[in-house]
């Protein structure tokens, strides 16, 4: 099993519903976020192009945060999701520094926190992650890459996609449809 997410940059309108849903679902402390919207404007006026992306931890297959964690608090969970065990985390900041996407933050309680793909609280109960389930344009797909009939496998087969900074060698599991 390999969990992955595909996010359609053509459908995303940047409404931030995914951000609020995540904050509510996961009790994210005020002033912090596990997912966020990035708007990239590119081109020469008046030929400008905008790309909207809902970003989060990429749950990399070759995760630098797991590699550099001195205690093993950052680890791969079943299905390839990258999670942090708070009771093992010493708050050294190595994983925060190691992430090219800056997807992690230091929780006010001291340990490091980030997107979990809502693994324990939703996915294991058969539900989609909060961000996916709430998206008003239905621009996000979540599922198992090893299941060729899953939404995410199907959409990645049909559409063009990219991952973020593939040259960092992280092998992300969040795909952007372009």
């Amino acid at each position: 099993m390999r969990y992955a997410m595909a996010i359609d940059t053509k459908k995303c309108v940047g409404c931030s519903d995914c951000v609020v849903a995540c904050q509510t679902e996961n009790n994210v402390p005020i002033g912090y976020c596990r997912d966020w919207i990035v708007e990239v404007t590119d081109g020469t006026y008046p030929q400008l192009e905008i790309e909207l992306r809902s970003e989060r931890c990429n749950h990399c297959e070759n995760a630098p945060c797991v590699r550099c964690c001195p205690t093993g608090a950052s680890h791969y969970e079943d299905g390839g999701a990258v999670l942090v065990t708070p009771d093992k985390c010493i708050g050294c900041g190595a994983c925060i520094t190691s992430c090219p996407y800056d997807a992690r933050y230091s929780h006010p309680d001291g340990y490091v926190d980030k997107c979990t793909f809502c693994l324990d609280n939703r996915v294991k109960k058969g539900e989609d992650p909060a961000c996916v389930s709430v998206c008003p344009t239905k621009c996000m797909y979540f599922g198992d890459l090893d299941d060729l009939n899953s939404d995410v496998s199907q959409v990645l087969k049909k559409r063009k996609w990219k991952t973020l900074i593939p040259e960092a060698g992280t092998k992300p599991h969040v795909y952007y449809l372009i």
């Binding site: 931030s16 951000v19 002033g31 912090y32 976020c33 966020w36 919207i37 990035v38 708007e39 990239v40 404007t41 590119d42 081109g43 020469t44 006026y45 400008l48 970003e55 630098p64 590699r67 550099c68 964690c69 001195p70 205690t71 093993g72 608090a73 708070p86 009771d87 093992k88 985390c89 010493i90 708050g91 050294c92 900041g93 190595a94 925060i96 520094t97 190691s98 992430c99 090219p100 800056d102 992690r104 933050y105 230091s106 309680d109 001291g110 340990y111 973020l164 900074i165 040259e167 960092a168 060698g169």
Partner: protein, 313 residues
Amino acid sequence: MKEELITSGRMNPYIDPHLNIWHWQIPLYLFLGGLAAGILFFAALYTIQGKADKYPTAVKIAPLITPFALVLGLIALFLDLKHKLYFWQLYTTLRLESPMSWGAWTLMVVTPLSFVWSALNIRQIFPNWDWRYSWVKNIEAFFRKNIITLSWILLIFSLILGVYTGILFSAFNARPLWNTSILGPLFLASGLSAGAAAIVLISKNHFERKQMAKIDLIIIGVELFLIIHMFMGFLASTQVQIDAASLFLGGPYTTPFWLFVVTLGMVVPAVLEILELNGYRMPRWLAPVLILFGSLMLRFIIAYAGQESRWLY
């Protein structure tokens, strides 16, 4: 005009607008660790070579600083942790992939050894020191008997500690400025240079001062060579590393780096030491103090600038 604008809705503390998670504790610790590594390296080296009498300060007196430096460094590291009560988790596992992990274990070896080495030489400061209990005296006798073995262990672990202070940074490919293997040898050289400077500063032995000053000159040469190569490497690399180098080549860290680290921390003390070796009278403390200052500034500037260098996507 071609536009490329990236707007992010994320505003996480210590992460945005650029990474700012490591503060003064880390570079201070890296400096103290490098300094201790440098001093212990020379102490072990001259003991192995049988030159303890020629270099009394390097072997017997300067190492007395190292327990304090290492403990202060460890306190700084502890202060940096944000989940402090769980610090012991570091010592429940050894993960060779993680420089932070094997670095923590290296400290666990070097720090007690620095105490042992200092205990063996405590009579340099307190000539009438008595260990009182016979079992302590037995331990002392054991280490004195095996001083060469102890020196070899210390030599190897001081080198690991010195290199580790740089590898801690260079292992992060997310921060293009740090992501160069030059940083390991550069920080090792800087630590050895700081160690030699500390010995010059303390020593009252003319021969020893002269020799250590010569060694320092060579190490400064190596450091300058490594710095030039580091920038050559950056400029010949990908755009992110070209951008990283530009922090020091016209960017906000240009003046601090080239003035404090290279000029005041390396070139000026090198010139002062050359003049002194040629018989000119100089304030004896000036060159070593500048070297120590430069070594500290190198850590601070690399630590802070590295956190500002990043991938844009």
